[in-house]
Symmetry: none
Subunit: 187 residues, 2 copies
DNA sequence: CATCTAATTAGATGTATATCAAATTATGGC
DNA sequence: GCCATAATTTGATATACATCTAATTAGATG
């Protein structure tokens, strides 16, 4: 089991390696046969150091291998690595794992930081998404399994914001609180 | 039948689109559900314009779609396009096609070498294929967005070959130059 | 050993682009 | 119609890196 972030950097390196015109051409040129640096430079109309640089980058991610013959270096496409990497990188599961790297938590933290001063709500967010974050925070001030009168609910909310009526209604609407016969409870 | 070079640029764009840390994270974040620009900005700890920019790039290559709700724009991963592109990129045939792009390039180099002495054209190639290579080289002596009189066009061509009339007509025919009311410009 | 060639490394330069702040556009609520 | 919010556009800046030349390394050859 590889960590999500390790997988992320691997996938990113793969894309970076192939996201350059010259490198992609090199990979194409090597798909049929191994070639020397000089030969590739001729085909791509680039100087040798440039090609050398690109080959080094491709080698870093194991996409090519090198074989020395005298002073000549023959590079070949690592077909197995190519197939393995692309298969793994392009798998849907991988994309989902990347999602894990980006924590939703970060977003919620930011909202709370933006709208709270201590435990006091500066204002009620206008956007539904942000309001939901605040409401999920707010509902934590109610014990699970306990029933409250409307007066108690309002009092608890009022600690955090004067407009308890709106917030009480929103909590119901967001299905975080439920109500029957004048009594409220957490869902 | 798609041309090799068209396929090449498509594959390259795909890799370029995913070769940035932020964009890769965005794709990951969208793998589970659609999200607003603001939300993504919060999750990635970036400003909204930056995220907007990245989403535009992802949209260019059809990797995401957008849905408007009030002033909020919800972006979603285009799973079909993602799978489609991945499958194609994965195919071995694609890599081989890329190889063909390189040879085409090399081919063009050879033509130019064969028909040019310095910047002077030895003769106008008889075969269409070779003539096209020469014409694409020739049109580079015209600035993009600038308009030329017929006299100017002829003068520029004459620097490279005496038969400017034929070449001027060929440039129009190859849709490399366009003309109206006696003025010429690059397409 | 001197020299030639192939490749790499080092250093310089230019271009592409990721990012942000400020300005602008678009929409919804009052 | 005015204000607030979300998004985009614009313009500026800064960083990454593709490419080149020059210098260096390493093997082959006379």
């Amino acid at each position: 089991m590889v960590s999500s972030t390790a997988e992320f950097t691997e996938v990113l390196s793969f894309f970076k390696a192939l996201s350059d015109e010259s490198r992609l051409k090199i990979v194409g040129a090597l798909s049929s046969e191994e070639r020397s640096v000089d030969e590739l430079a001729g085909m791509l109309n680039l100087r040798a150091p440039t090609v050398s640089h690109h080959l080094a980058r491709l080698k870093e991610v194991s996409l090519v291998t090198m074989r020395t013959e005298g002073t000549t270096h023959f590079y070949a496409l690592n077909v197995d690595a190519m197939r393995d990497l692309s298969k793994r990188v392009l798998a849907l599961k991988t994309v989902e794992n990347i999602g894990r790297v980006v924590s939703e938590d970060a977003y919620e933290q930011k909202i709370l930081k933006d709208f709270l001063v201590g435990e006091r709500l500066k204002e009620i967010p206008a956007s539904r998404k942000k309001r939901d974050v605040i409401l999920r925070w707010l509902v934590n001030f109610f014990e699970e399994g306990k029933e409250y009168t409307e007066k108690e609910v309002s009092a608890i909310i009022a600690v955090h914001h004067p407009d308890f009526a709106t917030l009480r209604r929103e909590l119901i609407c967001a299905k975080l609180l439920d109500r029957a016969k004048g009594l409220y409870w957490r869902i």
